[in-house]
């Protein structure tokens, strides 16, 4: 059950890179994330401590795939430009690991659930998306 979306995700990523189609990256990463989400229901019910590594791997895959697509058509760069970009991607991965670890730590805090917390969670998620949309529409 988990293997199928995992294989499909990898295939979607490969197809996106071969064909140069960016939606394939989104689908691939989403399928890989979905496979991971599915695997959570197969094991024990506790928090998965490997989630930050999974998040880092997904972000790294998405960053590298988009970087690859950005370089098409190929434009030769002066020395140092690619190295700096690689360093940025590495820093992003490291930051992702730290952030996701912090989120996991916050999630594992001994706070009792309830309707109030549920509402706070929904509001936070909606607010996060609203902020993203607002920033995307903002004139730069």
């Amino acid at each position: 059950m988990v293997l199928v979306p995992c294989v499909l995700g990898v295939l979607a990523l490969v197809a996106a890179l071969v064909l140069g189609r960016s939606p394939g990256v989104t689908i691939g990463v989403a399928l890989l994330g979905g496979a991971y989400g599915g695997s959570l229901f197969l094991g024990p019910r506790g928090l998965d401590v490997w989630a930050p590594l999974e998040a880092t791997a997904l972000v790294l895959a998405a960053e590298l795939a988009h970087w690859s697509l950005e370089l098409r058509p190929w434009v030769a760069a002066e020395p140092g430009v690619l190295a700096r970009r690689a360093a940025t991607v590495a820093a992003t991965a490291a930051g992702t690991l730290a952030v996701s670890a912090a989120v996991l730590a916050a999630a594992s805090a001994p706070v009792r659930g309830g309707v109030g917390w549920e509402a706070v969670g929904v509001t936070a998620a909606a607010s996060a998306l609203a902020v993203v949309v607002r920033l995307a529409r903002r004139p730069v």
Partner: protein
Amino acid sequence: MTRTAAPKLRAYTALAAIGLLAALALRRAELVVLAAPFALLLGLGLAAARTPDVRVELALDRERVLEGDEVLATLELQLQSSVGVERLDVVLPLPQGLEATSGKNPIGVRVPAGEPRRVALGLRCVRWGGYVVGDCVVRARDPAGLFVYEARALAAAPLRVYPRPAELRTLLDPLETQVFAGNQVARARGDGIEFADLRQFVPGDRLRRVNWRASARRGELWVNDRHPERNADVILFLDTFVEARRGDGEGTLTLAVRAAAALARRYLERRDRVGLVGFGGVLTWLLPETGLVHLYRVTETLIGTEVTVNYAWKDVEVIPRRTLPPKALVLALSPLLDDRAVAALVDLRARGFDLAVIEISPVPFTGPGRDPSDALAHRLWLLDREALRARYRRAGIAVVEWQEDAPFASALEEVAAYRRSARRVRV
């Protein structure tokens, strides 16, 4: 600069939304852990996104060059904004006739804020012409790669590429010269250097013209007659109705302009007067003049020559009368493809002009085709061209075919030989 959302923006938004909604629906905090980095990258990237204000300037090390020369183009990129750009892709589209020899085009460079970056690019001028270089396109991304900024930077730098003149040892001499002093030995007799004949002394002859040896032998005064050195009027008649051209830009007009530039240079060096008629869709002309300034004028006019499609019938009547002075040698450079030009040349000959036609052969620029009927049509066309040349010769017009790979001097020599033999036959 125009800003467009990169695919990454949509992708990360979708991934963050899917992750967060799935986490809420499935009540798994691990999915928030997956979605949070994407959401955070989006937030940080959008907050840091600023439109880069790039100023581009282009400088060429020379503005006037000859065909085959290289010029160094230097692009100066400077950011007016306070934030640098990690990668700025710059592409300098080159017009046909210029090609990059050194440096990279396009190239991605890092441009720090407030510090100009220079990118050097070597350009080889393959074909004559007037160019404007510098209409370059720049593209940048924000630090997170969520937006793409593109702009067309107009940093125009003019470049004049003059045709490289072919080596010409001999020139075509006109049948008749003009009245001004020059380097051409006239047929007429008068004051000059070249000996013409002996004749008896008549009152009014200058004493220094007396040939004392001949006078002593004959017992009466005899004087030397000489040919004076005069200049000639040469009209370069350029057929610009149509041309045959290959994909690399080389064509009959390219060759004709090179030949015309070489002829103009050599005739003006000889102190002859040179005029120019561009007979085509658009009529251009220069009255016969002499001197270095006129050489530049002719060359500038030549590099502006182009084929302009025009279906109106034109004959030599449209050419200003002063452009074709009497006794002028008209040197026509034509691919003989357009009926209007073909008829105009016959008309010029019929009006008594000393005319020589150098046919810029369109044959190397055309192929017979693969189909047998195409090959047959090509052969018929070649025969038709032969018949046209024969018609010209019957009309007393010296016509030679100049192929692309042959030196122009040989074609000129062939015309001269034809004119010499024609003169003998006429005598």
